[in-house]
């Protein structure tokens, strides 16, 4: 069981993920490749957690696995939501939770909206699926859209997605997720496709909504700036595993894992005077060819002999968890 002592105080756990692995099929022959290699974490009620990593680290798959959205993925482990193991549910029962207990918003709102349906219908759909009547559903859709700052929402209920701007569409997608009053919102890179101004607006919205509703948010991103502004806790993923997990303040100020250190160093700062920007040398390993031992060791400048032999476990030091031999067994 993941160690709960790293949680920010007084938060009952909402989702507990235990040794989750995700295998994706490879070609037609039945082989599969392990993308997510055993992750453990907890998201508390109302907590805002960011999941950071480069593309290919497995963060999106992990998020989708929580909702079991990938039909082709093979999952193992345990995902406990409010006492139920989500991985053991039938797809049908899982469907009942989707939209109502756990909801998701995605990266590119245009491709996540059905071009043939009005946005009013699409927002209301989450409720209609649950059998709520047309009029009531529409009313609630309207109120959520209002809440999210879509002006003249009433008129626009009958417009189509292509008639909206990017920022508006993201609000629509957010509305679609929130209208069912979920307890956990998974946001998969919701700001990546937006320009900075709109990013700000959406983050403010999320902030507002999550505080007001006591909504837990699992925020997937590769943008550390966004993490700093929004999350309470951050988990860093590398090559399918979590390598660091702790409060945003401490992790950013004193990163423990070399990868995290590299990530933070790579963020350009206005008060720096550099000739070149720093980038972590090398590239993340493809899932088919993971290095032995710690997957980061080939790129790590602090590695030693143990690193290519043994996979480091995710262990607590103080209130952070780190998967690195440098911190093995050390207390704080």
């Amino acid at each position: 069981m993941p160690d709960q002592s790293t949680l920010t105080p007084v938060r009952p756990p909402l989702v507990t993920v235990d040794k989750l692995t995700v295998d994706m099929p490879l070609g037609r022959s039945g082989a599969s490749v392990r993308i997510v290699d055993g992750v453990d974490f907890i998201v508390g009620v109302g907590e805002r957690v960011a999941l950071v990593g480069e593309s290919g680290s497995g963060k999106s798959l992990t998020a989708r696995a929580l909702m079991r959205l990938d039909r082709l993925a093979k999952l193992s482990g345990r995902v406990d939501f409010d006492g139920t193991d989500l991985l053991k549910l039938s797809d049908r029962d899982m469907g009942k939770l989707r939209g109502s207990s756990i909801a998701m918003v995605f990266q590119d709102p245009m491709s996540f909206l059905d071009p043939l349906m009005t946005i009013g219908d699409q927002v209301a759909e989450t409720l209609r699926i649950r059998g709520i009547g047309k009029v009531e559903a529409r009313k609630r859709a309207l109120s959520v859209l209002d809440e999210l700052g879509v002006d003249r929402a009433a008129e626009r209920l009958d417009s189509y997605p292509h008639e909206f701007s990017g920022g508006m569409r993201q609000r629509v997608v957010l509305a679609m997720a929130l209208v069912g009053e979920p307890r956990l919102l998974i946001a998969d890179e919701p700001t990546t496709a937006l320009d900075v101004r709109v990013q700000d607006q959406v983050l403010d919205l999320l902030d507002d909504v999550s505080t007001r509703r006591g909504l837990a948010v699992l925020f997937i991103t590769h943008d550390l700036g966004v993490v700093a502004g929004f999350a309470e806790r951050v988990m860093v993923m590398y090559s399918g595993r979590i390598v660091e997990d702790g409060e945003v303040g401490s992790v950013f100020a004193r990163p423990s894992h070399p990868y995290t250190q590299g990530l933070i160093k790579a963020v350009p700062r206005i008060d720096q005077d550099l000739a070149t920007l720093y980038a972590i040398p090398g590239a993340p390993p493809p899932p088919l060819a993971r290095p032995s031992g710690c997957p980061f060791h080939p790129r790590c400048d602090q590695r030693f002999d143990r690193c290519d032999r043994e996979l480091p476990a995710l262990l607590p030091i103080g209130r952070t968890r780190v998967a690195c031999h440098l911190h093995d067994g050390k207390g704080d």
């Binding site: 959205l69 989707r98 996540f112 909206l113 059905d114 759909e125 679609m176």
Partner: protein
């Protein structure tokens, strides 16, 4: 208003293309007439016409004039609806064909219904359970059916289902004693209009196998197209978003995946409507039904040259008109085809 201008421009272009096509067809038919071996006047006059009669016909058809004049007068005759006279029935070809056209249209209509009613659900299930047993089986079936000659399938099924198992009637359009007054020429429709319920079901019974055979080939195309389109849509992001809302598979398929995949299917079925009319000849002859195809077949068998060529002109025209109507309908029905055709962007 912009939309109106765009619409009328499109309509104009489409009509223009149709007229051009009809003209091309007419020219081809004229070419065919000229290609025929033997004396045209003699063929028109009939096998046992006297020399004087032949000369009279030659005079009437203006066959002594230069080719250009003949061509123009031919076009003129066409525009007046004169498709020649059948040597066998001694009636104007156009009149003969008009009588039997409804029967063919009825066959094609029911075949189209069967086609879509079978192909679409099959395509949906096959795509959703890609790689499963149903998918593989239906794809194999589609390949098999697609390669079979329609007339052979008709013969075999006629034998097996008609003679051996006696499930359907072997041929004809109506059973004995079930004759309804001929109002439109389409047996099922006529029976309905006349209120003859027993006759209606009888006519349906007679039409079901021919329609099924006609539909079979085209159904494989629809199946393939729909399945491919659905596979693409099912992989798309918004489908995942719909599932994230908690939609059941059925809801997702019917309300989201299908509508977004119908575009190519609609276009294809539009094309098929015309093609079916052309292929009707094969089915009508085997099942001894009346129709423009059967008429043409008989004309060929009896070496009724003008009836054959008149049929070509007629059937070709019908197909072109059907295609035109379908294109216009598609325009009205699907906003995205509308956008593509009219070049409008609603951003």
């Amino acid at each position: 208003m912009l939309a109106f201008r765009a619409y009328s421009w499109f309509l104009g272009r489409r009509l223009g293309l149709t007229l051009l096509t009809l003209w091309g067809l007419a020219s081809l038919v004229f070419l065919m007439i000229k290609l025929m071996p033997g004396d045209e006047a003699q063929m028109a006059a009939g096998a046992d016409a006297s020399a004087a009669q032949i000369e009279a016909v030659r005079e009437r058809l203006g066959l002594d004039a230069p080719v250009i004049m003949q061509y123009l007068s031919f076009l003129g005759r066409l525009l007046r609806g004169d498709l020649g006279t059948s040597i066998v029935t001694l009636q104007p070809v156009l009149a003969d064909l008009e009588k039997v056209l409804p029967s063919t249209l009825e066959l094609v209509f029911i075949a189209m219904l069967l086609n879509l009613a079978v192909a679409i659900p099959t395509g949906i299930v096959a795509a959703y359970r890609q790689g499963g047993i149903f998918d593989t089986t239906s794809r194999i079936t589609a390949v098999m059916l697609g390669g079979m000659p329609a007339f052979w399938l008709a013969l075999v099924l006629q034998y097996v289902l008609g003679s051996v198992w006696r499930v359907v009637p072997i041929s004809g359009q109506q059973g004995y004693g079930m004759n309804s007054p001929v109002i439109s020429g389409a047996p099922t429709l006529d029976a309905l209009i006349a209120g003859n319920l027993a006759g209606f079901f009888d006519a349906l019974h007679h039409i079901i196998l021919p329609a099924a055979v006609l539909a079979a080939l085209f159904a494989t195309q629809i199946f393939r197209t729909l399945r491919a389109a659905l596979l693409g849509v099912l992989r798309s992001d918004f489908i995942m978003a719909v599932r994230a809302k908690g939609a059941t598979a059925r809801h997702m398929l019917v309300r989201h995946a299908l509508p977004n995949s119908l575009n190519p299917v609609l276009t294809l079925s539009g094309t098929q409507a015309g093609a079916m009319i052309g292929s009707a000849v094969l089915v009508e002859t085997v099942f001894a039904r009346q129709g423009i195809g059967a008429y043409m077949f008989n004309a060929v068998a009896q070496k009724d040259a003008f009836a054959v060529l008149g049929s070509v002109m007629f059937i070709g025209t019908v197909v072109c008109l059907v295609n035109l109507i379908v294109d216009i309908l598609q325009l009205l029905v699907d906003p995205r085809i509308r956008a593509a055709q009219l070049g409008s962007q609603s951003q």
